[in-house]
């Protein structure tokens, strides 16, 4: 198996995540898409680690996961408070600040 496939997969996942951020309205889903992007990066890291023959990439993936977890905490808190106010988690509803 060529590790390159994993890289392509990772790029595809990253792109799907990015597109998801653009097309989905629900804040939670948008956020999940970002998580998808982060995990795509993890896949890349691990793959490169394999290609380069060093463990650094795999360790880095752990770091990323940790950071992602922290991000989730913050993110959900923010989304939650908005949801409680607006009774909606649609990112398009948060549209008071513009121009």
């Amino acid at each position: 198996m060529t590790p390159t496939y994993y890289l392509v997969l990772s790029a595809a996942l990253f792109s799907i995540g990015a597109v998801g951020v653009l097309v989905r309205k629900n804040a939670i889903v948008v956020f999940m898409c970002i998580e998808l992007m982060l995990n795509a990066v993890n896949l890349s890291l691990v793959t490169f680690s394999r290609i380069n023959g060093s463990l650094d990439g795999q360790i880095m993936a752990f770091f990323v996961m940790t950071v992602a977890a922290a991000e989730v905490v913050i993110g959900l808190a923010i989304i939650m408070s908005i949801f409680r106010t607006r009774r909606s988690a649609s990112v398009d509803d948060a549209n008071l600040l513009k121009y």
Partner: protein, 531 residues
């Protein structure tokens, strides 16, 4: 760190590298203060909490500042290996430039702290008493008018500052990423903590968070690609790899591009600026001040390091990018600011334009023996103080709904308070780059650095600053030459903390305009990045 990891794969024994704790003392002090803040939050009774938090924060920041001052001649990377190893790069590089930026961040953060802790202007403070309470609920209304203050923001601020301290000295992209997150995550929260207009504040918080996370993902992907290219995320290693690596350059340039994007986002450079106006407008004003000054310093510091240490070998490849985004920033910042009606948005666009000016100074950073580096450092410092004071002044002009930020409410302000209007004028003139203010010296400095390498860019920058001058002057026109409106806002008298912060900002703005020699000298001496 990477050495450790690498070693683990091949050699079973783990050698503990030695860490120069003294060199990272400022970071440790701030982190320690932050943790202490968390403890205070848990242990100290509510009544004492506010003062305790201020004490912890201010002392922590001052302590860190003192530490930076003591370190001023240091130039080392840490951690360092116990034995010798040919390819070991410390993850943190404590060097003069880094210390200069750290000092700047700390000083600005101190001022921001003073602004946040201002309680004379508004009952409580500019910060919402309890962020968890639903907007508009009876509890919310009751709390809004109560003396109750919220003190979690201080530890949050300290955590953010610690991230900002690491950010510009991180010699390792992973560490840089973590610093980025450490500085960003508290900021996402802080953006949502406004006492008034909470809906806007929450929206700002959400937007900042989503876009920030989005940008982090790009940064991270870039990091991964660079790792793939160089088999390391140490900047010096990446630099070396460009000469030795047999891998495809596509990895390198994709990675570089994405990493730069992540950094430009934080620095609010167009076209990654779109969050800036909304977030500045929605955030509590002192938090916006903090973001506009400290974040900018830190992210430009990081950008400098990435470009100088990691990519000075491919200057000709990334320079067009800097040209492009600099022009985009200046043009967007200048032109879009012209028709803004909210003064905070004006300052936001101004911030975007200024990011462009800083980038102009950055163009030649790898090729002119530190001149550009010094100029950028001077610029972020002078701009930081000016913009912080400008945001601080916004807190003073109020109507029944809180701060009166609509431009029309500022007309005739000089009648009401000549002092506030005059001070604001000085700050605006500085932003416009009129001589005898720090803004002029800063502009001169960066443009001088760029002139040789990027003459046309300098001319574009000058023309953009002329356009941008329009909106600064428009505010002056309103304040001095127009009649006050029917519902003229009132001018609040600031307490000691905001007064200190504002005075410092204005004094630095004027001082650096009249006698910039000491700081210029400092910047010149500090214009040294260690790989």
């Amino acid at each position: 760190m990477s050495h450790v990891l690498f070693a683990a794969a091949t050699v079973p024994t783990i050698k503990t590298p030695s860490i120069a704790y003294h060199a990272i003392a400022p970071i440790l002090i701030v982190l320690g203060a932050a943790l202490l803040g968390v403890l205070v939050e848990a242990a100290v009774p509510r009544r004492e909490r506010f003062n305790a938090q201020i004490a912890v924060t201010v002392l922590g920041l001052i302590g860190a500042l003192v530490a930076v001052g003591l370190l001023h001649n240091t130039s080392l990377t840490t951690p360092s290996p116990v034995g010798s190893s040919e390819s070991f790069y410390g993850a943190l590089s404590v060097d003069p430039a880094g210390l200069f930026l750290q000092g700047t961040v700390l000083a600005l953060a101190l001022m921001a702290t003073l602004l946040i802790s201002e309680r004379s202007i508004e009952i409580g403070s500019p910060i919402v008493a309890s962020a968890a309470v639903v907007v508009g609920s009876p509890d919310d209304k009751r709390l809004a008018n109560s003396e109750r203050v919220q003190t979690e923001i201080f530890p949050l601020l300290l955590f953010a500052v610690s991230g900002m301290l690491i950010f510009p000295i991180a010699n390792n992209l992973l560490l840089m990423f973590i610093a980025l997150e450490v500085l960003s995550l508290p900021l996402y929260l802080m953006a949502g903590l406004s006492r008034r207009r909470r809906l806007l504040s929450q929206e700002a918080s959400l937007k900042y968070f989503l876009l920030g996370a989005f940008a982090s993902a790009f940064f991270l992907y870039g990091l991964a690609l660079l790792y793939g290219y160089a088999n390391s995320v140490d900047l010096p290693a990446i630099f070396n790899a460009q000469r030795t690596s047999g891998k495809s350059d596509v990895l390198l340039y994709l990675g570089l591009g994405l990493v730069i994007v992540g950094l430009l986002f934080k620095a609010s450079v167009a076209p990654f600026h779109s969050w800036t106006p909304d977030v500045y407008q929605g955030s509590p004003t002192p938090v916006a001040a903090f973001m506009a000054s400290c974040t900018k310093v830190a992210s430009f510091g990081a950008l400098l390091r990435v470009l100088v240490i990691g990519f000075s070998g491919s200057t000709w490849d990334w320079r067009p990018i800097i040209w492009g985004v600099a022009i985009a920033s200046m043009v967007i910042g200048a032109i879009l600011g012209v028709t803004q009606t909210d003064i905070k948005r004006v300052l936001a666009y101004s911030s975007i334009a200024h990011a462009g000016f800083i980038l102009v100074g950055l163009v030649a950073v790898t090729s002119d023996k530190g001149q550009s580096l010094a100029s950028v450092m001077f610029y972020v410092l002078s701009y930081g103080f000016t913009t912080l004071a400008a945001f601080g002044l916004l807190m003073l002009v109020r109507d029944a709904d809180g701060e009166a930020t609509h431009l029309s409410q500022w007309s005739g302000l000089a009648r009401k308070s000549p002092l506030v209007a005059s001070v604001m004028t000085i700050l605006l003139l500085s932003m416009a780059g009129i001589p005898l203010t720090s803004g002029f010296i800063g502009k001169f400095y960066v443009f001088r650095a760029a002139w040789h390498t990027a003459g046309p860019l300098v001319v574009i920058a000058l023309l953009c600053s002329a356009v941008a001058a329009f909106y600064y002057l428009r505010i002056v026109v309103l304040m001095f030459f127009a009649e006050p409106p029917e519902n003229a806002p009132t001018i609040a008298i600031p307490g000691w903390s905001a007064s200190v912060a504002l005075t410092t900002g204005v004094v630095v703005t004027v001082f650096l305009g009249l006698l910039p020699e000491p700081i210029v000298d400092l910047a010149v001496k500090a214009a040294h990045l260690r790989g």
